[in-house]
Amino acid sequence: MRFDHEGGTTATRAAASGDTALAVQDVYVSFRTEDGTVQAVRGVSYELRRGEVLGIVGESGSGKSVTSLAVMGLLPRTARIDGSVRLGDDELLGLSERQLAHYRGQQLAMIFQDPMTSLNPVYSVGWQIAEAVSAHHDVSKAAAHARAVELLKIVGIPNADERANSYPHEFSGGMRQRAVIAIAMANSPEVIIADEPTTALDVTVQAQVLETLKTAREETGAAMILITHDLGIVAGQADRVLVMYAGRAVEVGTVEDIFYTPRMPYTLGLLGSLPRLDRAAQQRLTPITGVPPSLINMPPGCPFAPRCPMVEDICRVEEPVLRATTSPTHLAACHFSDRLAGVEPSDLFRPTTSDDVLPATVGAAVPLPGDSA
């Protein structure tokens, strides 16, 4: 679509697109490699409503980060991207760097995992926040700096006046991540994408940064995509959850849907494999055996079939699509999702100690003596 600068003011966008801040439609991302084409994302669609927090969970390699990088236009040129990403009324896919620069920071901000590498070591923290302010606003240097100090105060940096002149290496990990959050907040964006924002931090600092993220949402009213592998964080922060597996969304629903009535065996398996802090349960965990499929030359059928305890013939032939389950907004991609009503993880998965064997030796697995296969 044509890039229309004049049409991009907040008022017109809100009026035209109603409730949806970001609409991702049928996004495919693939990379050519020497071994073949890696299908990293295979048709992901979701809508992010204004002011909501959408948690995206999945294991490493499930495509959760690649999807967001595609939204931000940050994938390398070698990536092939199809589909549509609409921010308000504006299509983002296919825009040039220059055109994207208008949206990035102003309407769409990103917080990365490692705050040490997302800040520039040779500029002071205050300078970097001020830069984000003046990139989209015609303000004086002094005003931008004042705004930077104000933002540092909001994210809870003590002595913000002085600390604005500090360099990233003088900050601790938690403070750096707060500074990155301040940069993301600088232009009151519509959407903030936080990609594993607390994974590099210690738990007590993680709790602080999650509070800061909450503050950032309250201050800016932004909707947020929270990408994480930690289901505990999603349980506490997200309104809705999208579970990804092998480049696809396999379950979408409210946070209660996903945690209390999951309708996809993979989600159930994830919940069952978590050791719980709030339970003294001395029973064994129920892991999902095997590993996610290679994203090169994916076999037909459901990508979870090789690891799924309730696999049937159809699962190996036909890949299930996302379908409504308990409610129109709770979708799951499983042929037999209705069979999962009232099923506990321990009903489906075995508390095994073994691991699935390598593909070449399937069938030759020797069970452990104590393993009830």
């Binding site: 007590t204 505990g232 349980a235 209660e256 494999s273 050791p275 064994r284 965990l285 590993v291």
Partner: protein
Amino acid sequence: MTVADVANASTPAPDTAPVLSVRNLVTHFPVRSRGLVRRVIGQVHAVCDVSFDIHSGETLGLVGESGCGKTTTSRAVLNLQPATSGKVFFDNVDITTLSNRGMRRLRREMQIVFQDPYASLDPRMSVHEIVAEPLKIHGLYGSGGRARVTELLRTVGLNAEHGNRYPHEFSGGQRQRIGIARALALEPRLLVLDEPVSALDVSIQAGVVNLLEEIQERLGLAYLFVAHDLSVVRHISDRIAVMYLGRIVEIAKTDDLFASPAHPYTQALISAIPIPDPLKERARQRVIITGDVPSPVDPPSGCRFRTRCPKFASLLRKDQQQRCIEEIPALVERGQGHPAACHYAEVVNVL
């Protein structure tokens, strides 16, 4: 704190002698100046006055945030990192004074599994060679060596055929199993597990945790389980020691620690960990502590946690605070059923 205090208050009172006893372990690292003459200008107080026991068949969890000294403690226990002072008894032998030769013999009894399964296996050795290496080093490979390696691979849930493959052909979880097989090769009595599942995805992690539990039940090993993830530690440990800035601040049986955490840091740590249950998670009262861990080069006087302690900041009177500043709190029982290193220890339910 006396040795007897620790032994009495924090062990499950078994009749047997502990496999491992650590007494007043201190490990400092020198900080040197720049330039030609690299004078020692300070000490990193990595581990200060740490004492604990582990019995056979028991798992002691050692938790804390990065830089709290938990890894240094685990290295010192194996004498991989010489202790500055203090003693480490393995079977009543003080290993801190042993020669390299004497240590080598003892290494058969104590093995370690490392955190990163990608870095801890030599990519140029086949799995068979990796698992056989400890046997060869100790002259135990002999004629039955091949069968022994096969048996070890089976024990950790892999196949004999996997022996001919190389580490890069395996997933993270399978690699960690190879690391465990290597550690089990010499039939050790103590296994130090340094963040063994932190690098793995949750669905894979559960299988390795189950494997470790089963191996322990079958072989009666003692585990020192070092991790930052309290959920995993709760699942696998019989007792837990919480470390902060080089000191153990609380040590208790696992269920006691979660039912009645007495040290403000333990309370903050438990309350900071998110629970994967939306209703519970949103209804929780959080103890959020401010700031970051101070530098271990110049740790705070008195109680090392006081600079971040919510109790110190808001609940204590000036004269009470003075005690935290001046006096190092001993790790003793103060009426909560287990030792906690806080002058004003008090149980708070944070779950």
